[in-house]
């Protein structure tokens, strides 16, 4: 059974574990500090969701990973997610990486795509420059916990002017609730580079059947003129608590695209933020979520504009079944001096049952006059007039509702630029909606 302390780690054990894994001193120190912090600071406090009532302490203990020799050795839940013919794939099982592969073409161009633990050893200086720079490890207990315990993880580095055509794919899965499953994903796209990264986070319902927590952090650095597309689908089982914080820092003329599918069956905290630091930087975030049973979801997207002429767009669409709830926060913040910035956001919730709950909170915080900003939000149920119209053409009630629900999500799903992500999302979406 996992420890049930209010803080599931401490300086000594975090440092000891780091040393036993042969981590560099700077990292051992970082972990020790973070573990101590984790004991003193509080959990994040999202609007209207009391996450401290969730089971947040089941972080488990470190499990030594065993690499597989071929993709065919991976379980079905992973294999079905592997993009056909991919040469760039990384797989994390529980506490560590078990498979990694990068095409020689990309390696020759200087692209790094490996697990973050390995990167800390082999590219320590580079990693140290960025790790916990987009998000502070002392922001809250969650960031501190991730800093103290993160394992496996992903590191992507794309050198200046290099364009990575095909998506880099990671699959992170949990098949043992007793193991610590705390990835940290770090992406650095150097000036004028271009990369698409997609991942899936899943769990094996049979063996990850006890409560577990997935405290996860994503940091993305978009250097001047670079373009990063980040697609992520989370589809963990009911017993998992997903807490994922994503941050991007976007420099001059950099472009960031987030595509997030929050399709877990367990409680989910998902917070995705772009910091538009540079002039002419842009960010586009698309989030969809489906909730079922008594699942609680706190879904936040944020855009903070510092750069002149920066542009952000955020769209969240959530479908809530049964007694599931979604609290959706959109925060567009335009700082003083960010002239000609433009920020728009839309949040919509469709509730499929009278017990489902949805709440959309659009917030605009604007400290500059010369800007444009807009928001739209709605919470509603399937419109019976629409169901009637479709049924009057012979379509069954069930199919009519299905069409309307998929139609509701379509503006996000159909816009997904990466074929592979779109396909996976559609499949996992169907599974969750029909299930």
């Amino acid at each position: 059974m996992s420890t049930q302390l209010s803080t599931p780690t401490d300086r000594q054990s975090a440092e000891a574990l780091a040393r036993s894994k042969g981590e560099p001193n700077w990292l051992v120190e970082l972990r020790g500090e973070a573990a101590e912090l984790a004991g003193t600071i509080g959990w994040p406090k999202p609007e209207k969701v009391r996450i401290e009532r969730w089971n947040l302490t089941a972080v488990g203990s470190y499990e030594q990973p065993t690499a597989v020799k071929a993709i065919s050795e991976l379980p079905e839940i992973v294999r079905e997610l592997v993009s056909e013919g991919t040469e760039n794939l990384l797989v994390q099982r529980n506490s560590g990486s078990v498979w990694k592969q990068l095409s020689t073409g990309l390696a020759n161009k200087g692209v790094i795509f490996t697990d973050l633990e390995t990167a800390c050893k082999e590219h320590g200086e580079l990693v140290q420059k960025y790790l916990f720079q987009a998000i502070a490890k002392d922001e809250d207990k969650l960031t501190a916990l991730n800093a103290a315990l993160w394992n496996g993880g992903v590191f992507v580095y794309v050198p200046k002017n290099v364009e990575v055509e095909l998506p880099l794919q990671a699959i992170l899965y949990n098949d043992n609730s007793e193991s610590t499953f705390a990835p940290h994903i770090l992406i650095v796209a150097d000036s004028h580079s271009r990369v698409t990264y997609v991942d899936c986070v899943v769990s094996e319902p049979g063996t990850a059947a006890a409560p577990f927590v997935h405290p996860s952090i994503v940091e993305v650095f978009v250097k001047p003129g670079a373009h990063v597309r980040f697609g992520s689908i989370h589809s963990m089982g009911e017993t998992g608590v997903d807490m994922t914080i994503r941050r991007a820092i976007i420099e001059n003329d950099g472009q960031m695209e987030w595509i997030i599918g929050d399709l877990n069956d367990g409680n989910t905290l998902s917070d995705t933020k772009s910091i538009l630091k540079g002039q002419g930087s842009t960010s586009d975030a698309k989030v969809i979520s489906v909730g079922k049973n008594a699942q609680q979801n706190s879904l936040t997207t944020q855009a903070v504009h510092f750069g002149k002429n920066s542009d952000s767009n955020m769209v969240t669409r959530a479908v809530m079944k049964d007694s599931a709830s979604a609290i959706i926060n959109g925060i567009t913040k335009i700082e003083h001096g960010a002239t000609k910035a433009n920020g728009v956001q839309t949040e919509k919730v469709l509730m499929l049952s009278p017990k489902a709950r949805g709440d959309a909170n659009p917030i605009l915080l604007i400290d500059e006059d010369d800007v444009t900003a807009g928001h739209a939000a709605s919470v509603g149920q399937v419109n019976p007039e629409q169901v009637y119209y479709l049924m009057s053409r012979g379509i069954s009630k069930q199919d009519a509702e299905r069409l309307i629900i998929y139609g509701f999500l379509a503006p996000v799903v159909s816009e997904i630029p990466v074929e592979a992500v779109r396909g996976q999302l559609q499949r996992l979406l169907e599974r969750k909606l029909e299930g």
Binding site: Q386, Y389, L390, M391, S392, I395, I404, G407, F408, L409
Partner: protein, 259 residues
């Protein structure tokens, strides 16, 4: 079997208020019936009650299509049994493309595993769209979303043509249509005229009936059919209005609202 549609003593209420007060009407395959009548007299209510709109409660009567009582069926079953209603105000369904919708509607009439092939479907849809002089892009637009009034009506007729119903109810199909569209839509309807199919056309204007020649014309007031005749009745109404009918029947307020 030739189509035979019989509405018998149909009464319907909305929010507890009786709107239809006993409608009797018989339509045989090949016939075209027109219903005219002032605003608020129950014409759309009749159409909605037949189709099974959830807000309308049928309190009495029956509507038999070839011996089957439609009123016992769910909305989708009525459609599959052969009833089609081109609505006065078609719904907009965001995110669902017109072609996905049409294909679902066609497949709903087929056995599972025997769905229409994509190629065949596209060929059929494009053929009908061409007949209706619709821009092919309407196949990919979201269903009725942002369609103009006339575009929605044309889209209703497209559905009718693809679904091949036995009884067609057109509720003010002519409203919002420009002169060319009126001709195109009427041609579409006339092309569907057959011994297998009956039509019930609700309209305010004789103009439509110049294009689609009715066999019978009925006047609706106070939730009842108060007068029936041939095409000449529509012409007289167009020229003289409804006052003479009211006078003849001693009706002061023709709407169902206050009755």
């Amino acid at each position: 079997m030739a189509t035979h549609f019989v509405i018998d003593g149909l009464k319907a209420a909305i929010d507890g208020k009786e709107i239809l007060k006993g409608i009797n009407l018989e339509i045989k395959g090949g016939e075209i019936h027109a219903i005219m009548g002032p605003n608020g007299t129950g014409k759309s209510t009749l159409a909605s009650a037949l189709m099974g709109h959830p807000k309308y409660e049928v309190t009495e009567g029956s509507a038999q299509l070839n011996g089957e009582d439609l009123l016992e069926m769910e909305v989708d079953e009525r459609a599959r049994a052969g009833l089609f209603l081109a609505m006065q105000y078609p719904s907009e369904i965001p995110g669902v493309t017109n072609s996905d919708f049409l294909r679902s509607a066609l497949n709903a009439r087929r056995e599972e595993g025997n769905e229409i092939s994509l190629i065949k479907f596209i060929r059929q849809m494009e053929g009908k769209m061409k007949e209706l002089e619709m821009n092919p892009e309407f196949a990919h637009r979201y269903l009725n979303e942002g369609f103009s009034g006339g575009e929605k009506k044309r889209n209703e007729i497209l559905q009718m043509m693809l679904l091949d119903p036995k009884i067609v109810v057109l509720d003010e199909i002519d409203s919002g249509l420009d002169i060319d569209a009126l001709r195109i839509v009427s041609n579409g309807v006339n092309a569907m005229r057959s011994e297998e199919r009956g039509f019930l056309i609700i309209t305010h204007y004789q103009r439509l009936l110049n294009y689609i020649k009715p066999d019978y014309v009925h006047v609706m007031m106070q939730g009842r059919i108060v007068k029936s005749g041939g095409p000449e009745l529509a012409e007289r109404l167009e020229n003289e209005g409804y006052d003479w009918v009211k006078e003849e029947l001693g009706i002061v307020d023709e709407t169902v609202g206050q009755a």
